[in-house]
Symmetry: C2
């Protein structure tokens, strides 16, 4: 099987895990469970849980204790999209070709769906204590990282600066800050949690963070490039939106060819660091490399 | 010192703990830390962290490991108010006599402030693993309860049903469900987490949940009563708002005198159950009893 075929099988496996950890639709509040499923199962690359699972395996992790954390991380990623799409934020009616949650369920339930996914992420992840109580200390560390990287020193922090910078010209330093936090932080969480629960030592967890940081930044710059060079059909979202919104991006900051070179440089650095961990399978390095050439 | 004086001293102590666990206002994202403080330090009864701390002491808890959970619970309560006040929800410009977060900081930052407080609650609580790593298992259990009671089977669940019931007549069973989840669940979390970290056994934690459930329901019915009998000046919020919004409450459902009798019955049941735990101090039973006679 080639990389793409394995990727598709793994994506299906992850979708199965996500579905397993979704709450049953029952009770007076069933609509919120429905809206959570609508948002979580809307497709997507499943890059974060995949990176977590592969990093877990890289360090020898074998049990299912990683699964609630995979689901939790994708729930957090999804809640951030649901809130991002709200009228007071990006005001998007469509995502991945489907109506956004607040369009389908109303703005009030849209807000509550985001809240519910964020809260349920921690509810799901803390279920790991019941699975392997003897590893409570490691699970506690993993939870700390999940919260830290999703919060004001991670994803939310980046989102805040992004929102407050709308309509103004942004310095390179600030743009870098936004990208590292808004996109990078959850990718760092993915690989760090995979490493910790897989049994990595502190130095290895640090290395996983560094690999993920470079990968995340490359991923986000690639997004800027695709907004210029991609097509709406392949991306499943409007192109040239950054230009229309007069947004500072790595492409407007550095020009398209320097941006492309940077993606390549970061990705190769990430892969090189990864190889120093002597992975037994070639899938994870291939996954990181595929970020360079992705067209959507 | 009488109950009121002790209550005021304890409230000040809790405000100090909340302030200690707030993040420093620094970095490009400092505005979100400012908005978190603005919302968290806006006053309030601090009932939830106080119940948690007193229950913790009741079971012999002595260390500071309870503090991050006290702060976390009040952060969760606060985020729910911040999101509740948004234009798409209750659309309130004022709370406790001060402008609401989205009025001061804009609707986008208002949404993100709620997200940040919810996420930071789990970040703060998971800091307890560093304080007493040898108690990771208990801390893990406390985290599970925090997440469960704040989520779709707790506060958010109640909020969803409340929002979806706006403008329709609500059955008694459904009203009871809303009250037990929307208000009761966080009060249950307060006493259950206090019990667990204080060293209570499973049966005692169950009892703490029952006491808190009755207390929370009594508290919420008292809210309905005060909306009719209170004054806007003492309450610090508009009165007769339920009537204006044509809302089903315990008062419209059962009439004012039956509602009052129910508050008294529930509170006395709660106190009786509490006395079976043989508390050494009289403050906690007094606190529960004070809920009957509160005028705001």
């Amino acid at each position: 099987m080639n990389f793409k075929e394995i990727y598709q099988i793994k994506t299906k496996e992850i979708e199965g895990i996500l579905r397993k950890y979704l709450p049953k639709q029952e009770g007076y509040q069933a609509v919120i469970m429905e809206a959570m499923e609508y948002s979580l199962m809307a497709g997507g690359k499943r890059l974060r849980p995949m990176l977590m699972q592969e990093t877990y395996r890289l360090f020898g992790g074998k049990s299912r204790v990683i699964e609630p954390f995979m689901a939790a991380l994708e729930m957090i990623h999804t809640y951030s999209l649901v809130h991002d799409d709200l009228p007071a934020m990006d005001n998007d009616d469509y995502r991945r070709g489907r109506k956004t949650a607040h369009i389908v369920y109303g703005e009030d339930i849209g807000i509550l769906t985001g809240d519910a996914l964020l809260n349920y992420a921690f509810e799901t992840a803390s279920g790991a204590f019941d699975m392997e109580p003897e590893r409570s200390c490691q699970i506690g560390k993993a939870l700390q990282i999940l919260a830290r990287k999703a919060g004001i020193y991670g994803m939310i922090g980046g989102q805040v600066v992004d929102v407050k910078s709308a309509g103004e010209s942004v310095s390179g330093e600030k743009l870098d800050f936004i990208y590292r936090l808004k996109t990078g932080a959850l990718i760092e969480a993915a690989m760090m949690i995979g490493a910790i629960l897989g049994g990595a030592d502190e130095k290895q967890v640090k290395l996983a963070e560094e690999i993920a940081g470079k990968t995340g930044l490359a991923f986000q710059i690639q997004d800027d490039i695709l907004d210029i060079t991609g097509t709406a059909e392949i991306l499943g979202k409007p192109i040239h939106s950054d230009e229309k919104n007069d947004k500072t991006t790595y492409v407007t900051w550095k020009g398209i060819s320097e941006a492309k070179a940077l993606v390549e440089k970061l990705s190769h650095e990430a892969v090189e660091l990864l190889m120093s961990l002597e992975p037994k399978e070639e899938y994870l390095p291939q996954l990181l490399e595929s970020l360079i050439n992705r067209s959507k």
